[in-house]
Symmetry: C2
Subunit: 475 residues, 2 copies
Amino acid sequence: MSSSWTTFGGDLHLDLTERRAAGTGLRAALEDALREAVQDGRLAPGTRLPSSRALGEDLGIARNTVVEAYGQLTAEGWLTARQGSGTTVAQRTAPRPGRRPARPTAARHDVRHDLMSGRPDLSLFPRTAWLAAARRALATAPHDAFGYGSPLGRIELRQALTDYLARVRGVRTDPDHLLLCTGVTQGLGLVCAALRERGARTLAVESYGLPPQHDGVRAAGLGILPLPLDEAGARVDRLDTRPGAVLLTPAHQFPTGAPLAPDRRAAAVRWARERNGYVIEDDYDGEFRYDRQPLGAMQALDPERVVYAGTAAKSLAPGLRLAWLALPDALVEPVARLKSLADGMSPVLDQLTLAELITSGTYDRHVRRCRLHYRRRRDQLVAALAEHAPHVRITGIAAGLHAVVQLPPGATPEAELLARAGAAGISLNGLSWHRADPAEAGPDTAPALVIGYATPPDRDFPAALAALCELLRTA
Amino acid sequence: MSSSWTTFGGDLHLDLTERRAAGTGLRAALEDALREAVQDGRLAPGTRLPSSRALGEDLGIARNTVVEAYGQLTAEGWLTARQGSGTTVAQRTAPRPGRRPARPTAARHDVRHDLMSGRPDLSLFPRTAWLAAARRALATAPHDAFGYGSPLGRIELRQALTDYLARVRGVRTDPDHLLLCTGVTQGLGLVCAALRERGARTLAVESYGLPPQHDGVRAAGLGILPLPLDEAGARVDRLDTRPGAVLLTPAHQFPTGAPLAPDRRAAAVRWARERNGYVIEDDYDGEFRYDRQPLGAMQALDPERVVYAGTAAKSLAPGLRLAWLALPDALVEPVARLKSLADGMSPVLDQLTLAELITSGTYDRHVRRCRLHYRRRRDQLVAALAEHAPHVRITGIAAGLHAVVQLPPGATPEAELLARAGAAGISLNGLSWHRADPAEAGPDTAPALVIGYATPPDRDFPAALAALCELLRTA
């Protein structure tokens, strides 16, 4: 008698109890409740109301009472009755009362040329192939795939990745040592939390990296300890003697671009063995290498000492939040337990879809197409800078989706260059933004920009390139 | 000269450098590298190798060298050459060497009748409708939907949920106060972490609840403080006077089933206001109510003091890991910041799909269909127990996907009953498993079972019901 939870067009919660208790008549209580639902926006303009019969039954009141209430509200302009299409909520132009105003969004920069690093060209996302794979996955998944499952993630994707990562990156793992997570951000956080449980208090990182990643490390309870970089990658000889771990980007140092030299890879693994520590290998763009160099995953050197982290963020899209960890045996239990506490497991549908995409060979073809696309972009960038800004030096271009442009000593200071870029509508970061320890200032503080040449869609790339050349021409 | 990353059929990493450095000839080095890739499983049986021309180009070596290497390995049985279909990896039956054996999976119980609570009937997942909505979402999403976005989640779903929750549950919120998370587990963890930052050290919980949820609260750094339950829900008059928060299931106490009485709802909100604390409302099955009772969300009493948590885990599937928080203004910044640190944001494709499902009305129709389905199940359960086990008392059946079956004092003790259930292949929990403080033993410790009557698919439900009746008949 006092509420309804069912209508023809959708569910609606109406509460007549309080009004009835306060002595209001049945019809008046219903009118009040409907009026309020329209007024506060729960019933949006255009919403079709249930038939008087249906609402009467749901509320356990006479149909005529509903008819009368609808009639009254139609007369008042709240509702609209149209022959054949029932009763709907009237269109109004006034804002919905009772709602707090939307918070003002932060003033957006006038970004005309997006060269921010770390993002792929989102227009390449293979929508059709993804949907086709999702269809196959939905058609074949057992019912229990939609339920609660292992914190490691769906076996289908762990199996597909085991084979794929072995073939493409030389990773040595198996489905029982792979954990699927929502982005490398989460994976790194889980590993850091597991290391902290085991007594680690710091994580060595490369002196230039991704500041939000450093924030994540700190949030997981570890201090960061920057390692200097040179042409051969991180100076792993400076690793602390305390037990702990080091985060490296061996395939393509982020953002400076050097691959970690073979002897340093071996030295880092040796250090981890001796100190009972771990190397975390962030293979963020390992699939995008444009020239001939042997750069298998460092993880293959010692799967029990190297945590391998990979992601679909660059090869497909960051919005998928799909990443994976190949874990040493000793870390499987703690990381899976922490994953379980954090969110149970990762969403399954995208996992099943990616497994389909990989096993069908579509993923390989997509990655190859993207690689050609980005290599062309890179070549255009290199050629344009050679022509229009021959005084700059471009590094880190053998792989990945970004390059570092270094200006000669005495050129425009980085901060001023970035201000000019902003004024020209170019969005990018200076190299110094990537410094792990912002206080540190070494000999490598000559002005430099990090160029995400993969970011803009094709139609915007020529203009972005021209704007960048113009900026650097006079820098 | 020393590696390859491209083949026709897919990517493959081959490293010849070390072998060359060790003095091995070019052809022998290539043969060794291929042999090893087959042996350790990186090249799976049946994989098609690139043409000799393509591999030669990739490696920067003469095509003939590749032809000779392929010939040698074919002679050795590693590869198979077939006219017209190129060179493939030979089928072998031996296990892949170099792989660690799969860890033995825990001995599975012989579950024939799954009546474990907390899960919907997964055979109801609307695969076709979901795929159709995914197609629409993929067809219309802007490119930047696939990129990094707000930690709150996609605006499309936040907008759709604002309207849906207002209409169906009376929730008063807006898109700027909704945060999309991967399950209530994650949402609760984030809120607890935010409360801890603000000085909270404990969270009051109902004395019976979900132990994994309690573990999550503790992992976020809060101690739990159980509140007794009675027929009107949690005894909120026992709330501590310290600032803090309380986790409640007002619509349908989990698992005992009582709705929280109106005066207790008001008292809890008053307590939160006075102590500068918060109520967390876990509306885990608010859409599944079978009888006429006014049970809007408690959040509407004070959106600035009640955090509303909802989920698609019961209405669609737990595997989606899709849940939402309607947050008080003061908690938006801390919770969004912690979400950003935890995993950046939730995966977008399922968000866009659910938004489509809701705005098209398909979600409402699906929920209504499920509600009828589960109500029928509940009625069958009640009828069967009335007939075959009239001595038991069944409670908490006005809503939700589970019921509590209470046995009379002096009946078979709970532990023995559960052992008998296990022997009969019935999977379910005793009520005592849900106790927040396992040490506590009160007057409510008469044997009781929690029956998840929604869990089995239709074809298995009659047998599960019969097995349960048989178990209880003699209990």
